[in-house]
């Protein structure tokens, strides 16, 4: 193992569409209130795309920023792994559309469907291709246009989600500031608790599926909440423990931004105070695969992410999918 190559995040870019959907806007659309939304979710506003703007647009804008930060050209990118549940279309993969729009002529890639864990799963995929020596520059993207699959008459789900994207560049690391470890789990029995029932091979689009609103997000909120509260803490503790760390060693906890109360509950169990947690759900809502890179960017803008910091990432999403990543920030 002496010659083991490690991987690092060498650049980060994010993008959210400019249009805002505030709690006040939602009060006019469904029976809800700013106070209820804030108390139950911690969300104040979300960014929503205009008609015709798709996931690939957001992913490309985020990727351009990451590449510009690193000072490299799109033609230097060797692979693109993109986490999303709202691809531009069923096929081709949004990664292919991004490859074209970005001008990453030499890159191959594919989409990863792991919902809110999509970015973390893509991150490990990218890391492994770098650690194996197969590639030296991999673009990992988390991007979703959740507004395209939200029923804006369903007050239980429409208050939660927003649109956004983030991209990181993965390159070989030359020291210990690298991606240290990952733990991922799936519990497929939770598939019925959070899904979009139609549009796939089980329920192809039809008048009936449209009438029954089967092309929207359906969620058993309490079942998801309970699973998330349990798993976010469990997987975080596990990845820390097996690398000889405890919650006290973590400089920054970057949880998937699904609900502020899930985040605080997980942080409590890890013994993490608020100054070690990044929370930006108030600004963006739940952007599904976009939340982790958006949270990293918020931390950076707040001066809370420095070279060498031990960063713990955790996510739970539809599937259920569970992900955790441990890394030392490299720049």
């Amino acid at each position: 193992m002496a010659n083991l190559v490690r991987a690092k995040i060498s650049a980060l870019g994010t993008y959210v569409p400019p249009r805002l959907l505030t709690n006040a806007d939602l009060e006019k659309m469904v029976e809800t209130s700013n106070e209820w939304i804030l108390e139950r979710t911690g969300i104040r506003q979300r960014h929503i795309v205009d008609k015709g703007v798709a996931t690939s647009h957001l992913a490309v804008e985020a990727s351009k920023k990451a590449l510009a930060e690193r000072g490299i050209s799109a033609t230097d990118v060797e692979a693109i792994f993109l986490g999303t549940v709202t691809p531009d279309m069923m096929f081709p993969a949004t990664a292919c559309l991004v490859q074209d729009k970005l001008g990453a002529k030499g890159a191959w890639g594919f989409d990863i469907s792991a919902a809110c864990s999509g970015f973390v799963y893509a991150l490990q995929t990218g890391a492994k291709f770098v650690e194996s020596g197969a590639h030296k520059k991999v673009l990992v993207i988390g991007a979703d246009v959740m507004s395209s699959i939200i029923d804006y008459t369903d007050r239980a789900t429409c208050v939660i989600f927003g649109d956004g994207a983030g991209a990181v560049l993965i390159e070989p690391a030359d020291n210990g500031n690298c991606l240290i470890d990952f733990i991922h789990e799936v519990d497929g029995s939770g598939g019925c608790s959070l899904n979009m029932p139609a549009g796939g091979s089980l329920n192809p689009a039809s008048h009936e599926t449209l009438d029954k609103k089967m092309h929207y997000v359906h969620q058993d909120g309490q079942a998801v909440f309970k699973y998330a509260v349990r798993k976010m803490a469990e997987v975080s503790e596990k990845v820390l423990q097996r690398n000889g760390f405890t919650g006290k060693d973590v400089n920054l906890f970057v949880p998937h931004q699904a609900n502020k109360r899930i985040i605080m509950s997980s942080a409590d169990r890890l013994g993490l105070k608020e100054d070690r947690i990044i929370i930006n759900i108030d600004e963006y809502g739940n952007t599904t695969a976009g939340t982790i890179p958006l949270a990293l960017d918020s931390a950076r803008q707040q001066g809370r992410l420095k070279k060498g910091d031990l960063v713990l990432i955790a996510s739970v999403g539809a599937g259920f999918t569970v992900g955790a990543a441990l890394l030392r920030w490299a720049y």
């Binding site: 108390e39 139950r40 309490q222 909440f225 309970k226 509260v229 349990r230 609900n259 109360r261 509950s265």
Partner: protein
């Protein structure tokens, strides 16, 4: 005088909701304690861990006060799965 199990439940409620233990009585409803449905999920998760039991989701959702919660817990501990909490 409350029994040991009830005392532990009341302690956990205070800890989860971050309220003084003296505010929690055996007669308290979740509404009186300010526990909404998400707090209740958190609480039941804590109780499942503390007592090494599993409360089915539909039973958990029906619990609205301290007495119901203690009854569900005691039924679970004695293996009486017929208790639904309702």
């Amino acid at each position: 005088m409350v029994d040991e199990i009830t005392g532990k439940v009341m302690h956990l409620i205070a800890a989860v909701k971050k309220i003084p233990e003296e505010n929690v009585t055996t007669e308290s409803t979740f509404e009186q304690l300010g526990l909404d449905s998400l707090d209740a999920i958190n609480l039941i998760y804590e109780i499942e861990g503390e007592f090494n039991i599993s409360v089915p989701d539909d039973v958990a959702r029906s619990i609205k006060d301290v007495q119901q919660l203690v009854a569900v817990l005691k039924a679970n501990l004695t293996g009486d799965t017929t208790y639904t909490g309702t």
